[in-house]
C-alpha cells in the first residue's frame, strides 16, 4: 500500500556539499503542501568529508523514515564518485539526477564554474539539482521557492532563485529525452 502512495527521494554526496540542506528544502516543500513527511539522515562522524546520504519520503502516510533499498524513485547525487555506491538504492524505473545533467555537451564541472552565461556552479549544486528534480514532482515553482527561502539566509535568495530556475530548465530538457 505504501509503495503506491509514497514518493521516495534519496540525496547522496560528501560532507559539506549541502546534501542535508537539499533534503531539508524538499521536506519543507512537501510538508507545506500537507503531505505526511519523514526525513532521515545520520549526523556526527560521517560528516567529516565522508559519504553522506539523506532520505526524504512523503505521501498520505509514511511509516519508516528510511527509504527501503531498491525503492528510491529519485536519486540525487551531488558528487560523481558517490553514484555507484548508491545506485542499488534506486528502483528499476527510478530517475538518477547527477551534476553532469547540468553540463553542456563536452563541458566539465570546472568549466561550468567559469561559464558566465549561467548561474549554475558547483557551490550551488544542491539547489540546481532540486531544480532538475522539480519537473518530476507535483509542486509549483512558487512552492519550491518558499521552501528554498525558508532554508537559506535572505542574502542568498536571489542567487538561489536563479540557480533553481536554471536547474528546472535543465530538468525540462532531461525529462523530454
Amino acid at each position: 500500500m505504501n509503495a503506491q502512495t509514497v514518493t521516495n527521494v534519496v540525496f547522496a554526496g560528501l560532507g559539506g556539499q549541502g546534501v542535508l540542506k537539499a533534503s531539508d528544502i524538499l521536506a519543507e516543500v512537501a510538508f507545506r503542501r500537507g503531505h505526511d513527511v519523514k526525513k532521515s539522515e545520520i549526523h556526527g562522524m560521517s560528516q567529516r568529508g565522508g559519504s553522506v546520504t539523506s532520505d526524504v519520503r512523503f505521501g498520505s502516510e509514511v511509516f519508516s523514515p528510511m527509504v527501503p533499498e531498491g525503492e528510491t524513485d529519485f536519486l540525487l547525487v551531488l558528487e560523481s564518485t558517490q553514484t555507484e555506491p548508491n545506485r542499488h538504492l534506486l528502483k528499476s524505473d527510478g530517475v538518477l539526477i547527477v551534476p553532469e545533467d547540468l553540463l553542456k555537451e563536452g563541458q566539465t564541472l570546472d568549466q561550468l564554474d567559469a561559464d558566465e552565461s549561467t548561474p549554475l556552479n558547483q557551490r550551488s549544486l544542491n539547489v540546481a539539482l532540486l531544480g532538475v528534480l522539480s519537473v518530476y514532482l507535483d509542486f509549483s515553482e512558487s512552492e519550491w521557492l518558499d521552501g528554498i527561502f525558508a532554508n537559506l539566509p535572505a542574502k542568498l535568495h536571489e542567487l538561489n532563485a536563479k540557480v533553481f530556475a536554471a536547474g528546472r530548465a535543465v530538468g525540462q530538457r532531461k525529462k523530454q529525452v
Partner: protein
C-alpha cells in the same frame, strides 16, 4: 520553526520543545551523537540548558535540581549512561521531587560510536522505568508522560531513543499536557536520600514497590498501541522498529509497546494468545524476546545475524520470512577523514614519525587511525588514553615503554582525563610518561560545542575557564609545554623525542584552533555585520 501548529521536527528537537513546554527547570548534557541537538535546541528555545563536563556530573546536577522541585532533563548518548551509571543506580533508591527524565540516545549500527550497547538493559539493572518513542510526535508526547510518571512515583524515568528517532524528522503537533511545576523548595528527607546501608536497604524495597505499582499502571496504559489486523501474524515491537515493521507487514496485527520497563506482561500474553504466529521485532539485544520467553510465552525472535547493525524495512521483511541468507555487500562509501589542514594531522603524523605507541581517545583525532595517517593504537572510551598509556608504561620493557604516549582532546580531557593525570602523578611509571592534550578549543566531532576549557557556555556567554596548563602544574607535573604544533613541526618533533628520552612526566598541550570552528566564527561575525 513557526510558532504554532504542526512542525516538522527531529526527535531531538521534539524532546527539547516538549521539555520547554513542560516548564523544564534545568537541562544538562555532555555532547554525544545522536543526543547532542537536544540541549542545543533547548538553549535555542531560551530554555535553561547547560553543558556539563561529563554525563555523571550532568546526571548529578539534574538530580539535585529535581530535589528542589524543578523538572529536569539529563541527555546523553548510550555510552554516556555508562559514565552516569553510578548516580543513576542509586537515584532510583533516593527518588526525585521534580520530574526527572534521563535521555539515553542509543546508536544501533554505530553511526558515530565505539560500541553498539543496548541501554534497555540499564533500565532493568537500575530499576528505572523506560519509555521508547518511535517518532518525533511520541518523543514530544512521552516527555510529558515521563514527567508525570516521575512526579507521581518520585522516580527518574528513562526515555530511550535511537539514532533514527533522534535524527529523523517527522511531523509533530505540539500539545502541552501537564500541570505547571510546583514552587521550588528543599524539604529534608534524611533517611530517603542519604544512602548509608541502613537507609538504602529499605530504599531498595521502596523502589521495588514503586516498580510494582508502575507495572500495574503500565498494564492499563493507553500509551501502548494494539492493531488487530491479520491474525496469522502478530508483531510485538517498540521504538523505531515499529515503523519499519508496519511498512514491512502492513496487514499484520501489532502490539507496539510504549513503556518497555516494566513490561506489561499480561497485555503481551493476551496479544500473543490472539495470534497464530507471534514474533518480536527489536534491534540489537534480544531484550524483549528473552523477557517474554522467561514469562513462558511462545514467541519468535530474530536470527542472530540481525542482532548486528540497525534494522530497516528490508531487514524486517527478511526476519519475517526467516531469511538467513547472507545480506548483499554494498560498495563502501567514502570514509570520513581529518580535514585538510587540521592540526591533529600534524600532531599524529609527527608522533608516527617518532615511532610512538599511541594510546588514543574519543574525538575527531580518532580518525587518524585511518589511512593515510594511521597513527592510533587504541580507542576505548572517554579518557582511556591516559589510563591505558600508564598501564603500558608500567609493564612494557623500558625501551618500548618510552615510546608510549597518550593522546586526548581538550573536551575529552575535561570529561574524563583529569583523574588519569592525577594517577600519573600518584603512580609515575619508571620511564615517566607523555600525555598530549590536543587542544583545538572546541568539541569538534559532535559539531563544535563549548566546554569548561573554552570559557564559554552553551548559551554563548563568557564564564570561568579551566586552564589546562595551570591545572597540570597545580597537581605537580613539572614539565608542562604549550606549543603550536603546526608553527614549528621540527620543534614539536624534537620536544617529543626529548620527552621520550627522559624518565619524567610530561604534559604537552598542542594548542591550535579547529579550522571548522574558525570558519564558523568568521561566518557568524559576517552574518552579524550584514
Amino acid at each position: 520553526m513557526v510558532d504554532s501548529g504542526r512542525k516538522l521536527l527531529s526527535g531531538n528537537e521534539a524532546v527539547a520543545l516538549a521539555a520547554y513546554d513542560a516548564g523544564v527547570g534545568l537541562g544538562t548534557a555532555y555532547p554525544g551523537t545522536p543526543s547532542t541537538e537536544i540541549m542545543e535546541n533547548l538553549a535555542a528555545l531560551g530554555g535553561p540548558a547547560q553543558w556539563s563536563p561529563n554525563e555523571k556530573v550532568a546526571y548529578e546536577v539534574a538530580l539535585g535540581a529535581s530535589w528542589s522541585g524543578a523538572r529536569v532533563l539529563a541527555a546523553m548518548k548510550h555510552v554516556g549512561v555508562n559514565v552516569a551509571a553510578d548516580p543513576l543506580f542509586t537515584s532510583t533508591y533516593t527518588g526525585v521531587i521534580g520530574g526527572f527524565i534521563l535521555i539515553s540516545a542509543d546508536d544501533p549500527g554505530l553511526a558515530s560510536s565505539q560500541n553498539e550497547q543496548d541501554n534497555r538493559r540499564y533500565a532493568v539493572a537500575a530499576g528505572i522505568p523506560m519509555l521508547e518513542p518511535s517518532n518525533s510526535q511520541e518523543a514530544y508526547d512521552f516527555v510529558f508522560e515521563a514527567f508525570r510518571i516521575s512526579e507521581r512515583w518520585s522516580i527518574p524515568v528513562m526515555l530511550r531513543m535511537t539514532t533514527r528517532v533522534c535524527h529523523s524528522m517527522t511531523i509533530v503537533e505540539p500539545r502541552p499536557n501537564i500541570d505547571p511545576p510546583k514552587p521550588r523548595h528543599f524539604d529534608h528527607d534524611i533517611k530517603g536520600r542519604t544512602m548509608i546501608p541502613g537507609y538504602a536497604r529499605p530504599a531498595h524495597r521502596r523502589l521495588r514497590a514503586k516498580l510494582a505499582e508502575i507495572d500495574a499502571w503500565n498494564e492499563e496504559s493507553t500509551l501502548h498501541k494494539r492493531i488487530d489486523g491479520d491474525r496469522s501474524l502478530g508483531i510485538i515491537t517498540s521504538g523505531i522498529c515499529y515503523v519499519h515493521a508496519r511498512e514491512a507487514a502492513p496487514t499484520a496485527s501489532f502490539l507496539k509497546l510504549a513503556m518497555t520497563y516494566p513490561l506489561p506482561i499480561k497485555r503481551i500474553r493476551a496479544f500473543v494468545e490472539s495470534v497464530d504466529r507471534a514474533i518480536v521485532i527489536e534491534e540489537n539485544d534480544p531484550y524483549l524476546v528473552d523477557s517474554l520467553r522467561a514469562a513462558g510465552m511462545k514467541v519468535e525472535g530474530k536470527p542472530e545475524m540481525y542482532r548486528f547493525n540497525e534494522l530497516n524495512v528490508v531487514r524486517v521483511r527478511r526476519i519475517l520470512a526467516g531469511d538467513v541468507s547472507p545480506e548483499p555487500t554494498r560498495p563502501p562509501g567514502k570514509p570520513p577523514q581529518l580535514c585538510v589542514g587540521c592540526p591533529h594531522r600534524t600532531v599524529l603524523s609527527t608522533l608516527r614519525r617518532c615511532d610512538a605507541i599511541i594510546m588514543g581517545d574519543i574525538g575527531c583525532y580518532t580518525l587518524a587511525v585511518l589511512p593515510p595517517v594511521e597513527a592510533m593504537d587504541s580507542c576505548v572510551c572517554m579518557g582511556a588514553s591516559i589510563g591505558t598509556g600508564l598501564g603500558l608504561r608500567h609493564t612494557l620493557p623500558p625501551e618500548e615503554a618510552r615510546r608510549v604516549v597518550s593522546v586526548i582532546g581538550d573536551s575529552t580531557f575535561v570529561h574524563s582525563g583529569i583523574t588519569g593525570l592525577v594517577d600519573m602523578v600518584y603512580n609515575p611509571p619508571p620511564t615517566g610518561h607523555i600525555v598530549l592534550i590536543l587542544d583545538n578549543g572546541t568539541t569538534a566531532m559532535t559539531g563544535l560545542q563549548d566546554h569548561p576549557g573554552t570559557g564559554v557556555t552553551l548559551r554563548k556567554k563568557p564564564t570561568g575557564r579551566v586552564v589546562f596548563e595551570d591545572l597540570a602544574r597545580s597537581i605537580g607535573i613539572k614539565n608542562v609545554h604549550v606549543v603550536d604544533p603546526v608553527e614549528s613541526v621540527s620543534g614539536f618533533k624534537k620536544l617529543i623525542e626529548d620527552s621520550m628520552a627522559s624518565d619524567e612526566l610530561t604534559l604537552i598541550i598542542t594548542r591550535r584552533p579547529c579550522n571548522l570552528a574558525l570558519k564558523k566564527q568568521q561566518k557568524q561575525a559576517g552574518e552579524a555585520r550584514s
